[in-house]
Symmetry: C2
Subunit: 541 residues, 2 copies
Amino acid sequence: MNGLMMDFQLTLDAVLRRAEQHFHKKEIVTRLPDKSFHRYTYRDMAQRAKKLTLALKRLGIQKDDAVGTLCWNHYQHLEAYFAIPILGCVLHTLNLRLHPDDLVYIANDANDKAIIVDESLLPLLDSIKDQINAKTFIVISAGGDLPEGMLDYETLLAAEDVADFDDTALNLDENQAAATCYTSGTTGKPKGVLYSHRSMVLHSMAAALPDVLEIRESDCILPVVPMFHANSWGIPYAAAMAGPKLVFPGPFLDPESLLSAFVEEEVTVTAGVPTIWQGLLQMLDDDPKRFDLSKLRNLIVGGSAVPVSMLKNFQENHGLHITQAWGMTELSPLGTVSGLNSELKTESADKQYEYRAMQGNPVPLVEIRGRGDDGFIPWDGEAMGELEVRGPWISSAYFNRPDAADRFTDDGWFKTGDIVTIDDIGYIKIQDRSKDLVKSGGEWISSVDLENAIMGHPAVAEAAVIAIPHPKWDERPLAAVVLKEGQSVTGDEIKTYLADHVAKWWIPDAIEFIDEVPKTSVGKFKKTELREMFKDFEFAK
Amino acid sequence: MNGLMMDFQLTLDAVLRRAEQHFHKKEIVTRLPDKSFHRYTYRDMAQRAKKLTLALKRLGIQKDDAVGTLCWNHYQHLEAYFAIPILGCVLHTLNLRLHPDDLVYIANDANDKAIIVDESLLPLLDSIKDQINAKTFIVISAGGDLPEGMLDYETLLAAEDVADFDDTALNLDENQAAATCYTSGTTGKPKGVLYSHRSMVLHSMAAALPDVLEIRESDCILPVVPMFHANSWGIPYAAAMAGPKLVFPGPFLDPESLLSAFVEEEVTVTAGVPTIWQGLLQMLDDDPKRFDLSKLRNLIVGGSAVPVSMLKNFQENHGLHITQAWGMTELSPLGTVSGLNSELKTESADKQYEYRAMQGNPVPLVEIRGRGDDGFIPWDGEAMGELEVRGPWISSAYFNRPDAADRFTDDGWFKTGDIVTIDDIGYIKIQDRSKDLVKSGGEWISSVDLENAIMGHPAVAEAAVIAIPHPKWDERPLAAVVLKEGQSVTGDEIKTYLADHVAKWWIPDAIEFIDEVPKTSVGKFKKTELREMFKDFEFAK
């Protein structure tokens, strides 16, 4: 017997209606290419999103078609975030940092029929234009001449009358595909994740929860994380649901631009990868009093693990609180958030940092388990196993990739590829990517922990650990270390330092100094490349 | 084309798993009939809920069967809140304040097969036992002899082994009926509202949002609102999802018991109807320093409108913040919450109180509109119309009542019966129940506003306004007034006072002093009875 509740579909048009009806006066601010700020309201956004829907329809875009965006974070991108899914189409946020070959691959794999592109990114589009199937290009520009055959975004919108938009005729099913992102895998071809309206709406509501990202109407949020990267961690949709002021940084992700935006717009919450905050930290360290960041209550960090040293430095030297979140493109992306629960709130500062550096507890409706060699691991904070997850905003399959079915278990869980420990209240700590673990003498060494320990050394800017075959121990760790500017230290000094911080058998057999750790398009260490660099390295017998 | 997301069903077993896995150490505290506190954890709760599921199955309870509860707020009631729906059955929380005839009616209308009852409520059960179809009675007692043929709750649980509970065999569909509550209508037979798992899970997540009730793991929540009244406003399920400490008051809802529980258990959030807080206020006013309520950050009030005077008194004399919420049994029950948005935060204190005394903005995923005589009303804060709502936790029909289909519009909205104004950011203010408006000379007078104005008079404890037929104006208001103990005031003095607070033509033609305003089982003014009292009243010609 079913309940007698309304069959109200969880679709993004409901989120847009809410934004327009209740937050219409609230501001959306964007840093333009000339560095000035563009300002308008949620009402403007909603009206223009509806016009974009009409314009796309007029261009022949049909239900289920994919429409790509090759854009930075700005208000027109937000309009596309709503317009495309509401039309029953698939928003495909193209990652502009991908290699052009990969861009061609994903644009064609997703069947993009049209692409909305920033004028500043036309050179990139140009490099792939002839190889992709999309033939319609809509350019977001400040006006002026466009390349032959391309359409102007503003001209298209100006031709539409918002009164022609009929909200009641959408008839979207909540399971309808709404958007796609491709995983920026370090090996193999990128794989498409296909989100539904339902998954987006549920993810938005969960993201706003007090123990998750805590988004309220009175906030001002600046997502540094790109809108072409895992839905900007769900912030655009969660914002439209909760109503905070939104600030988009445009293409300016340098510390100076971000810090000044935080101050001028009174930003309360921001979100990005550790590399971004590392840069900010440097600038803050250089002149701690220059920026008044007293309104900024939360820096959300994800994408890579945050070293304790960074948490500490932000907190103790600048009074800024970092919240670590963990997710994946396949998770929409939110999986866990590392807050301090009431038990941890009475613990020592060190213990708190230790927990805050973990990946934390799952978001409501996300379920976790760890699978070791002998079945599911106990939740004891010690046993390591591969993290498996399930929930309403987690992939059940990749688009068009039956060959990747092995990433899903027979009983419907997603295998994350992350090796974790889970403690007795379900805090997870990622020890490694499954393929990055160092297996020494039958025991596992967490390259992530080791990297964080090395990065705790005052002279070290970055450190990446890889496994090198070893005649006796099977594998032993090699650390590739980047020193801070003007600093010098020897490998032996680092080893001596490490002796106080990790088990003796974890200390890397080799410390190699490099200029830069190779990174993926989203800022993660690219260990494949590092392994290539050291492929001929041999330990002495 | 559908998205490729997991088909993860929004069912209450997922909420219970979360509570058990992540909040298992957190406390659930209950005041027992002997006034001492019983303590156990969410893990204990989950384990016992599973045992109750097994016990009910053993008693022959089958999928879709309804199981009634006739209980105060306590931990066993919470166990039933999970056990019954997870079994695929319908939790029917019987309102113990209903007239026995109504109890018989709803128990039979819902097809209750069994009833779980507090020992202290056996006399009430006894008065209806022979007229209801349920033949299985499970008594929550402190031990000792039970009436012939009745089963002991603890004995049933003790006979079960939690290992027999198979989580993976539940296979619940999210649309499965989970619970039912009956509206305590002032006219006609109570009508059954049938909740689904989906509506409960979505409502729980929404309830916990920062701009709604704001429930976090570090909170301690004491729901005064009965668990037999509109799901205790969703708090039990929202708590299990978010993990706060929970404190149940048992049958002790007197100010002294509540205030001492707030202090001893360090309660941060509580929720109940205005009558409860009126009593507390009196005790606090009498001795403001007696109770240390510094941890209490939010008193959620619903069920009836809160007069500004009460908001002010709590805030200014006791530093306690009241958040007004509005809902209905048909809304699971949350519809709107009256927080201050960022615009209002810079307004004067008076303006803020005025807004906080409104019903506020809809909760995410709840949509509103107002229907006047000439179509939908503008959102101008002035036009009055009947509030219509829709959303995923709102009734689409009453159980077994095709005759009540007129409460739903053709396009699928629920007609609340409340007359409201809606301002330009969607704050609603209830002016009246549609049947309680006073229509004077073609204009509407809001009895609620008038009552609040009268209750602002220092000598007045309560005031209820009804319409009386008038030879010239069609209807004119009559105010039935209850004075505070030891106070005296004349009707003319009240009229003089009102002249400063309402339009002149709103001033009641008659002020009648009574000992008590008759109330419904959930503490709302029972205007039908008041009208009966004054049915022979005539205005002079």
